[in-house]
Every structure is written in structure tokens, then in C-alpha cells.
């Protein structure tokens, strides 16, 4: 690991000022914020991230409670550990997709370390990004090319990819957030501001080394998930190569508001499949106002994957995504849901 300067502060705006060179996700950003460290320290050991300065967010003044549930929705403290929110009873009851996306992620040790804010900013697991002995990686070293496009790309993205990068966004929590219209609260050079979670991760657009729309020095402080009649009937279905402690090869976060079998409202996020957290709006539109049958679910899944681009080893993915989404929708339909959501 390369040497770095280590800064600790109890004050959020001081941390933000120290982080004025954090950039937008570039591997060579001069400064990185340290939260749980489960991605950052790993990638510094691998010489992928090469910061000259770490700003530790672990000593910030004691933040408010991890979870607040109110009539308008759910507020999650971005500095809360994944494990604290995964087991929260009100999240489990009213926003099960959120709780499940955290429970099914990583291992108990990592869930005890990783924060929610760090989780959504985790880096791709593309093996060519993670190993600098592969020279070509546009995400790690801009302009060098992409080894994965003609390489071993079994778990690379099929949605939202371009000719410069097919890296997959590996997270689970982000898939539930994008499905449920989450907003994020940021502290930084502009003071406190809010933006849709959907705007956080930006398209590759020929510049995959630029990953987020955060300003340098901005720190995610909270997540807001608006209340809705669909949040209680929500789930996160994760398909992976082993039964636990593995990244998704396909996943779906779905939320349904049903009147009998008629879909009044639906929210769909897809994981293990796309360059960034993926909202399947075409699939949602195709279901609205219709009875939720297996056939309707399959049509929706076909709409969701219409734009898929595969590269050989990941040719299986669109079909797996369709089946994942159909199963998730039918499971959500049969969920026992009592009472209204919070």
C-alpha cells in the first residue's frame, strides 16, 4: 500500500473541507473518505485506489439514530452500519426490500463494518479493474481500453453499458433504493442539499472513470425513502453462485400496490445486471392497471431487458434477469401484507 496522510475530525464541515480533492470516483483521486473501509482498504492494498490522503469519517460527532420511520417515509443515517438497519424491526415491517437488500449482502463481519453511505459508493468487482497488472481499464486508467469486453465477462453488465466499460454495479442496497425513489442528503461545499438517488451514479458515457455526480468534498449524510402504498409489499430477490456471502449475478427489488390482482402501482429495480443501479421503468409501465399474471410479469421482464447488450460469457444474463423479475413479482404478489405501510 502506498503511504498517505491520515486526517480525523469530529466535525462534518471540517471533514468536507479536508475532502476537497475526493473527486467523482476516480481511482487516482488524491483524497478518499474512509468510512467502513471494506472497499477502500481492500483496493488500496491492490494498488487500484492510490490516495495521498485519507479523511476518516469514523470519529464524526455522534449522529442521530440509524433509522427514523414517519408518515412521510423512512430516513436512514448514512453513517449507520449495514447490520444496524438490516435488523431494524420497522424497516423489516414497512420497507422489507430495504432490509432484505442489506441482510443478503456481504458477510456479518462486513455488514458490521460497512456504512450505508459507503455501501452505495462501493466499486465494481470487475476483475480487470481490481488488478492493475491488466493495463487496459478505462475505469481505472482513462483511455487505456477495456479488457473485459473481449475477456472473461461472465458477470459483467448487460444494461447501461457502452464501448468503453461493461463493469457491473455490484451493490444490493442501491437496487432497493432506486426502486423505491430514494433521495440522498449531502453535506459539502454547497451546504446541505438533496438529490434523487437515481442521479448519484452517472452513465459511463465514454468516461467510466467519472462515477458519481458528487462534488468534491461532498459526504452522503442520509437516505430518504418516501412512504407509499407499495413499500410494505416489497422484496429483494438475489440470485448468486453460492447460497451466501456472494455478489448477485441477478437480482430484483420489487414493490407492489395491488387492488385484488390489478396493479395500482409498481416499482422495479434490477441488480447484478447493469452498469449502475437500474430502474426498470418500461417494465413498470407495462404492468400498470393490469392484472398481475405470470404472462404479464414475463412481458414486463421482456420490456426491462429489451436494451440488453451481451459480450459472450454473459449471454445468459438477460434470460436470468427475466426469470428473476418474474419470480420476484409473483412472490411479492403472494406476500402476506397486513395493514397499511407507515
Amino acid at each position: 500500500m502506498r503511504p498517505f496522510d491520515f486526517e480525523q475530525t469530529a466535525n462534518l464541515s471540517h471533514a468536507s473541507r479536508l475532502g476537497r480533492n475526493t473527486g467523482q470516483g476516480q481511482a487516482d483521486a488524491a483524497t478518499q473518505f474512509l468510512a467502513g473501509g471494506t472497499t477502500l482498504i481492500d483496493l488500496m492494498k491492490l494498488d487500484v485506489l492510490r490516495p495521498k490522503q485519507l479523511v476518516d469519517l469514523g470519529s464524526l460527532d455522534a449522529p442521530a439514530s440509524a433509522v427514523e420511520v414517519g408518515l412521510r417515509g423512512l430516513r436512514l443515517n448514512a453513517f449507520a452500519k449495514m447490520s444496524a438497519v438490516a435488523e431494524d424491526k420497522s424497516v423489516l415491517a414497512h420497507y422489507p426490500a430495504i432490509a432484505q437488500s442489506l441482510q443478503l449482502a456481504a458477510s456479518p463481519q462486513i455488514r458490521n463494518m460497512a456504512t450505508l453511505g459507503g455501501n452505495v459508493l462501493q466499486k465494481t468487482r470487475c476483475p480487470y479493474y481490481r488488478d492493475p497488472s491488466w493495463r487496459a481499464c478505462n475505469k481505472r486508467d482513462p483511455g487505456t481500453g477495456c479488457t473485459a469486453i473481449d475477456g472473461f465477462n461472465r458477470n459483467h453488465a448487460v444494461l447501461g453499458v457502452d464501448d468503453t466499460c461493461i463493469a457491473q454495479y455490484p451493490g444490493d442496497f442501491g437496487i432497493a433504493l432506486i426502486a423505491l425513489d430514494a433521495q440522498i442528503e449531502l453535506a459539502g461545499p454547497l451546504g446541505l442539499r438533496r438529490m434523487p438517488f437515481a442521479s448519484l451514479h452517472i452513465p459511463a458515457a465514454g468516461r467510466p472513470h467519472i462515477e458519481t455526480s458528487l462534488l468534491s468534498g461532498e459526504i452522503i449524510t442520509a437516505f430518504y425513502v418516501p412512504a407509499g402504498a407499495w413499500t410494505a409489499r416489497s422484496l429483494y430477490l438475489k440470485i448468486r453462485d453460492r447460497a451466501s456471502y456472494e455478489f448477485a449475478i441477478s437480482s430484483a427489488a420489487v414493490a407492489l400496490d395491488l387492488e385484488g390482482d390489478i396493479v395500482r402501482n409498481v416499482r422495479i429495480g434490477l441488480g447484478g445486471m447493469a452498469y449502475r443501479p437500474w430502474r426498470a421503468t418500461e417494465a413498470e409501465s407495462s404492468l400498470l392497471g393490469k392484472p398481475l399474471t405470470e404472462g404479464a410479469a414475463l412481458s414486463a421482464a421482456e420490456a426491462a431487458l429489451a436494451g440488453a447488450r451481451t459480450h459472450g460469457h454473459n449471454d445468459y444474463k438477460p434470460e436470468l434477469a427475466r426469470r428473476t423479475l418474474v419470480r420476484a413479482l409473483l412472490q411479492a404478489q403472494s406476500m402476506p401484507v397486513t395493514g397499511a405501510s407507515a
Binding site: I41, G58, S244
Partner: protein, 194 residues
């Protein structure tokens, strides 16, 4: 024949081993940006005892334990947060010491495998791993035991499936998994978690 511990044999053998391992070490020896790295004073409280060290800022809790304080119970498996061999408790929660910078956990309560036995009496989880034969080579065992204690305290050892899911962060290449599950069930009943 003087008494020699296994660790002394391993330490003595390191000079020999270094010859064959040289290319690997060279590859990991990444460029240093400017001269000798500065050290920082670091306070670590391990199994109730405070320690003061001067550490390079890059030193992880695992390396501080093993290389600087010679608490070699916690093991380095992958050193990348994938295997769980380095699992310890910090402020009562199981975490990976290989991905935790020592400088970031000052004034926190660090518990390692060395702190479990009291006056030579093994912790119920240690006893259970022996009784149930919950290991073969033993390399992952300290991490398994620390993780297992937390698993029971968290209330995540209600059934075999519950234990399997909540111990998935600890890999055992000898595949002693069924006996590890048996050991955790034995210890769960002995630990009398409130």
C-alpha cells in the same frame, strides 16, 4: 533437545522461505512515494490491556496484533476481507482486522482469541470446537471462534440454517463446516446468552 515452539520453528524458517518467495514479495513491495514513512503514536486496548505503539499509518489492526504485539492468534488468510480468518471483536462486534487501520480504532475495545480463556479455563466456544472436532488444520479456527461467539450473542444461532447463513463470512478450506455448526450449537447452550 531444547523446547522449541511451532512458532519459533516458523520464524526461524522464514529466512529460508523468503528465498523462494522473493518474486511474490517484490511484487507486493509497492513504490514508496517519499522517503521513510512517518509513524504515528497509536493507542490500542487489547483484551482489556492498553498498549502504546508507534505505527506506520498503513498498519492494519491485524498486522499491529501479529507483527508489533506478537498476538499471533488472529490469522492472516487472504488479507483482503474475503476469508474471515482475521475476525476479531471491536466494541463487541465481529469485524475483519485486515481491513481495519490500527490508527482508526484507538480507544475502542479490541478482543482477540488470546483474551477468551480465563485463568486457563477455555471459553465455552473454544471447549466446543475441541469437543466437536470443529477443525482440521486449525488455521481458520481463531477467526471461526471469534465470529461464532458474536453469532451466538447476536441471537443468530437459532438453527443449523441460521448458523450456516451467519457464519458465511468465515471460510474453512478443510470444510469442517458440519462440525463447526455442531460446536456452535454446543456453545450456544453453554453460553447462556441473556
Amino acid at each position: 533437545m531444547p523446547h522449541i515452539t511451532r512458532r519459533e520453528v516458523l520464524t526461524g524458517g522464514a529466512a529460508l522461505a523468503a528465498v523462494s518467495a522473493e518474486p511474490l514479495l517484490a511484487r507486493q513491495n509497492l513504490p514508496v512515494q517519499s522517503g521513510a514513512p512517518a509513524t504515528l503514536p497509536v493507542r490500542l486496548t487489547i483484551n482489556g490491556t492498553p498498549h502504546r505503539l508507534d505505527l506506520d499509518v498503513r498498519v492494519t489492526v491485524l498486522d499491529a496484533l501479529r507483527d508489533h504485539l506478537h498476538f499471533t492468534g488472529s490469522k492472516k488468510g487472504c488479507d483482503q476481507g474475503q476469508c474471515g480468518a482475521c475476525t476479531i471483536l471491536i466494541d463487541g462486534r465481529r469485524v475483519l482486522s485486515c481491513l481495519t487501520l490500527a490508527v482508526s480504532v484507538q480507544d475502542k475495545r479490541i478482543e482477540t482469541i488470546e483474551g477468551l480463556a480465563v485463568n486457563g479455563k477455555l471459553h465455552p466456544m473454544q471447549r466446543a470446537f475441541i469437543d466437536q472436532d470443529g477443525f482440521q488444520c486449525g488455521y481458520c479456527t481463531p477467526g471461526q471462534i471469534m465470529s461464532a461467539i458474536a453469532c451466538v450473542r447476536e441471537g443468530h444461532a437459532r438453527s443449523d440454517a441460521d448458523i450456516q447463513e451467519n457464519m458465511s463470512g468465515n471460510l474453512c478450506r478443510c470444510a469442517a463446516y458440519p462440525k463447526i455448526v455442531a460446536a456452535i450449537k454446543q456453545a450456544r447452550d453453554a453460553m447462556q446468552v441473556p
